[in-house]
């Protein structure tokens, strides 16, 4: 199997104007095989979101190499799908117009755009809301629209940055199951960022635990749970519980350290 994503000795230093530069992540070696679902979990401020910015090329790495779909990342990459934590839909465009963006940027003919957009808007359950503006939708519906916006371009790799953290628990479980179903059908590579260990285990093939900032990889665990899974029910599986306890032992120290850092920083 080839690696869809490979980070090799990667570190990232932020240099904000008129402030001290700081190291966000360092010594990152991480590879994700094509078609795998990998979740990165770590305390807040450990630089896990930075990883996605590096893979997508939105930020350049300070050192090391990042490879995506077989080519080094040197500019913003459009062969990935990026689901942002925050609302990323253009508020002045309707759901349909938002979902059409990537196809329009690529110059896909109008008829084909309309057909594929219609397909995806329907598939995420927003067929009745195609002409609505984002502010008229619930948080869960906006996430679905964002998913359709990204999936319509059929990217081989999905980068997801705590996509469901703003949702209530029920909506969140629904969306997680939908994501798993969609992923199972499409065979895409997913790099999923979360601070929620349960979510990480329930969704992925492998979890990567990061240290408190500057973020390093602390441990990696394969998730040996059968698929298809139901994220709500898989939590009762004894293998889930066993893995949760092992990973939590790693994560707990980092969470504590991250919390202490945040106190001394402020």
């Amino acid at each position: 199997m080839t690696d869809a994503i490979a980070l090799d000795g990667v570190s990232k230093t932020y240099r904000p104007p008129r402030k001290k530069p700081y190291l966000a992540v360092t010594d990152i070696d991480l590879s994700v095989q094509a078609g795998r679902f990998v979740a990165v979990v770590g305390p807040s401020g450990c630089g896990k979101s930075t990883l996605l910015s590096l893979v997508s090329g939105l930020l350049p790495a300070s050192s090391g190499t990042v490879t995506l779909n077989g080519t080094p990342v040197q500019e913003v990459r459009t062969d990935v799908g990026f689901i942002f934590q925050r609302d990323a839909l253009l508020p002045w465009k309707t759901v349909t117009e938002n979902v059409a963006l990537s196809l329009e940027f690529r110059g896909v003919p109008r008829m084909a755009v309309r057909q594929r957009v219609g397909e995806w808007v329907t598939r995420v359950g927003l067929a009745k809301f195609g002409d609505n503006y984002p502010h008229e939708l619930s948080g869960g519906m906006r996430k679905r629209a964002q998913l359709a916006q990204v999936m319509v371009g059929d990217p081989a790799v999905l980068l997801m940055d705590e996509p469901f953290s703003a949702l209530d628990v029920q909506t969140r479980n629904l969306m997680e199951n939908e994501l798993l179903n969609a992923w199972g059908a499409a065979g895409k590579t997913v790099l999923f960022i979360t601070h929620d260990l349960e979510e990480a285990i329930a969704l992925s093939d492998e979890i990567v635990v990061m240290t408190a900032g500057p973020g390093r990889i602390k441990a990696r665990y394969p998730v040996d749970l059968p698929r298809p899974r139901n994220v709500t029910e898989v939590r009762f599986d004894p293998r889930f519980v066993a893995l949760y306890e092992r990973a939590w032992a790693d994560l707990r120290d980092e969470v504590t350290r991250s919390y202490e850092q945040s106190l001394t920083r402020s």
Binding site: S56, L58, F84, D87, A88, L90, L101, S102, F105, R106
Partner: protein, 268 residues
Amino acid sequence: MVATTAVPLTRRMWFIRSLQVIVIAGFIGLWEGLGQLGILDKFFYSRPSLIVPRIAGWLGEGFTPTSIYRDIEVTLIETVLGFVIGTLSGVAIGYAFARNRVLGQAFDPLLSMFNAIPRLVLAPVFILAFGIDLASKVALGVTLVFFIVFFATFTAVRDVDQTLVDNVRVLGARRRDVTFQVLLPAAFSAIVASLRTSAGFAFAGAVVAEYIGSSVGVGRRIANSEAFFDSTGVFGGIVVIAALALALDAFLQVVEGWFSRWKPRRER
């Protein structure tokens, strides 16, 4: 709360409406009454019963080169030109400064200086420079509108949500797409929000410049009447200006509502 919901909404609205009519009628009645009693000097303050026939007389003159219609037409043309030129230049320069930090920082003191000048004192300068015709009125309107639109565009483009930009870039947007799909729409919404203010300023600029030096326009009509100590004419002109301003604002409210469809109601 119970009391407000107990009264049907339409009845409540009619109640408010009648109060508003009473207030306006009271104001006009008081003005007329005090005038009749000789407490308000007719020479300075005129009276509604003199002003209304005067305006009716103007409106009845028909469309001649010296009629009120010609004055209104000229004032509105000046307003529209001042508004359009001021808006376009404000957007262009506001956008450029927000996208190019060095440029923005270099011009910041100069712009702040110009913005600190009460723009109306420039009216005599413009009349000397551009003459008493259209150009000087438009120029004053432009200086008023420009700064409003410039600052609205500058802040909107500078503070645009970076997530929106990142998202469209990964979706395949080129530089041009980012400009036309994200930055300019963000600026446009700020401009629409300032539309009524800036159009009002364009109108005020036109009228003031006319008042100071021109041969035609509603502002000129007021200045003429003043020259003949004709307070009825002055007030008649003021009423015409108020009516135009109200009509303009009502029109722009509709325009603003149309362009703000995508916004949550409370933010409109």
